[in-house]
Amino acid sequence: MDKLKIGTCWLDGCSGCHMSLLDIDEGIVAVLQKADIVFGPLVDAQEWPEGVDVAVIEGAVSSQDDLELAQTARARSKFVVALGDCAVTGNVPSMRNGIPTAKLLERVYVEGATVPSVVPTDGVPALLKQAEPLHSAIKVDIHVPGCPPKPNAILFVLSELLEGREPDLGSKLRFG
């Protein structure tokens, strides 16, 4: 039987959820016996491939790039996991949501600069009006909150999915 394919990506977040994924320690061996990680910050692929079985997405949808990557991942994956509080609730990135983006960028890049500066436009993705939870942009199949989610919760979810079962977090459900 062919190995299953896992893709991961990191939108507006701190990479802490990916750190927690690495923190499953030797659990990764069991995961990799059943699946390959074909995309994400942990591997070299430049584009989200077709035919991914499980997409694991960290971070809120905050910029145009985030939105496009989330949509691509959704279109090319069978099952989407929203990993961590940013993907599930918006979390810290959403704390900017009460502030208009122009004002926010001005405050950070111009008023906050120690040397005269302007708001960057080249090479950086445009900010969306608000940083939103993943399920406001694409259909999400399971939410795994936590900041970050505990490694045992991540390992449980991946193991269940790789066995073909839909995981029920139960007592592993935890925000913050």
Binding site: M95, G98, G176
Partner: protein, 235 residues
């Protein structure tokens, strides 16, 4: 005059006395009914709607914290419908303000967070409101963060009923309702505040906290209010 009555909670016959509420009888008999605005030792206001229960012969749901028991009353504390409504009530509390557990002093000790986890709220199905809210840091020892307030009014009742100072009140209507100290003075300028801190201990979330604590560090003494009330009743 109080009378002994018999009620049924989830099928079990339980002895109670008139004047007790469904929630009081349930808790005294280890029957779980969730609640957020209820606090033992304070008057009940039925604000959070998490303790809604099904009462036989009554077409609508009733809040357990404000419904008195009577002879023959039969209550169901849990059903798929109640669970679904409680989940909705919790999710609506989350969308109304900016509850960011990851940066909250009360994370891990928060009643709202615990209720959400216990009720299987894995995510919120409604659009968030993202209101811009203030944080009142004017009091020398305590802080009030409106982002985390659920308007349960436990602080209002604690201050009015237990401390007798009545510093806190609700101002505004509906979604614009805000907790205010002394007709909207900053907390630090509220001359009637005795700085006793019981409101902080009564607060179910991180909306009220002692200054100086980091994320997850603010644990609260939940039994302060009920202990004071029972000591006074014993006098």
């Amino acid at each position: 005059m109080t009378e002994k009555v018999k009620v049924r909670i989830d099928g079990e016959v339980i002895a109670a006395t008139t004047g007790q509420t469904i929630l009081e009888v349930a808790r005294a008999n280890n029957k779980y009914i969730p609640a957020l605005c209820y606090m033992e030792g304070l008057s009940a206001v039925g604000a959070c709607r998490l303790c809604m229960v099904e009462v036989s012969g009554v077409a609508r749901l009733l809040p357990a914290c404000t419904t008195p028991v009577q002879e023959g009353l039969a209550v169901a504390t849990s059903s798929p419908q109640l669970q679904s409504y409680r989940k909705i009530a919790l999710e609506l509390l989350f969308v109304e303000r900016n509850h960011v557990c990851a940066v909250c002093v009360s994370s891990g000790h928060c009643e709202l967070q615990t209720l959400a986890q216990d009720h299987g709220v894995t995510h919120v199905r409604y659009p968030y409101n993202y209101p811009r809210l203030t944080v009142d840091t004017t009091h020398p020892r305590y802080v009030l963060d409106h982002n985390r307030c659920v308007l349960c009014s436990r602080c209002v009742r604690t201050c009015a009923e237990i401390e007798g100072a009545h510093v806190w009140d609700m101002a505004g209507r509906g979604i614009q309702t805000r907790l205010v100290s002394e007709l909207k003075r900053p907390w630090g300028e509220a001359t009637s505040c005795t700085s006793c801190g019981k409101c902080v201990q009564a607060c179910p979330t991180g909306a009220m906290a002692e200054k100086g604590w980091g994320v997850e560090e603010m644990t609260k003494h939940r039994t302060v209010v009920s202990r004071l009330t029972s000591m006074r009743e014993g006098q």
